[in-house]
Amino acid sequence: MANEIGLTIRGVEASIYWSYLLVGTVSAWTLTRTSPADPGTITATVKTVDSFRASQHPLEFVVTHQHGAWRWPLQSLQMTGASLTAVLGPRE
């Protein structure tokens, strides 16, 4: 059934922002959404991070491309060493 189709997007580099302030950069990221009801999860490897800004809210996961950027709001963000896991929030 169409409403059970999941989604996986992978990328090389991305950034996390607190408004216009850069929180950090990540590499080897994967966005997984198992169903339309699933808000989605991002896993990535942390390259740089400002730990104070990472504790602020709201945060956005930003992937730049040739014609602009894709932006996903983050509901939560966890970092353990160089490993990042984030749960996506609702799209604006």
Partner: protein
């Protein structure tokens, strides 16, 4: 209870001529202010009079505040984003016509003065903390500054450096 001490990264839209606008930071935090002063006064030695790079005074203030805009060239958006490297952002600013740059600078300078006044009033217990409308400089106000020199247009910055 004390007042908030962290600068939240808020943005404000300022309108300039011909329906164009610029998006700017509402206020700079300590780190952004230090970067601004370092750009305009890279040669400062403790105990010595401040020596400023006068070519950078207005451009540095714009670089510190500007986040984006609606400006176009031949129907295409002129890129301006905090994601861009600083030298690329500066190169775009340097390519603007003089009157457009002056409009952008004047709008930001007035915005900074307004926010500084609000902050001072709040600290003195005179403000209500509510935001007043974004500044939209009139064409007359913008054109009125066209005779100003690079150094003399930024008196508020100079006074804050010497205080």
């Amino acid at each position: 209870m004390g007042r908030d001490r962290i600068v939240e990264p808020e943005t404000t839209r300022l309108f300039i001529s011909d329906g164009d606008f610029i998006d700017v930071k509402k206020r700079l935090n300590h780190g952004e202010s230090e970067e601004y002063y370092a750009r305009i006064s890279p040669f400062q030695i403790p105990g010595q009079p401040v020596r400023m790079d006068t070519r950078q005074i207005r451009t540095s203030k714009v670089l510190s505040y500007l986040l984006g805009w609606s400006l176009t060239q031949k129907g295409q958006p002129i890129p301006m984003s905090p994601d861009m490297p600083e030298n690329a952002r500066q190169a775009v600013l340097n390519s603007l016509d003089k009157s457009t740059f002056l409009e952008v600078f004047t709008a930001i300078d007035k915005h900074e003065d307004k926010v500084d006044a609000e902050d001072t009033a709040l600290k003195n217990g005179k403000g209500d903390g509510k935001e007043s409308p974004a500044i939209s400089p009139s064409p007359v106000a913008v054109a009125g500054d066209t005779s100003g020199s690079e150094v003399s247009t930024d008196t508020s910055m100079t006074s804050s450096l010497t205080n």
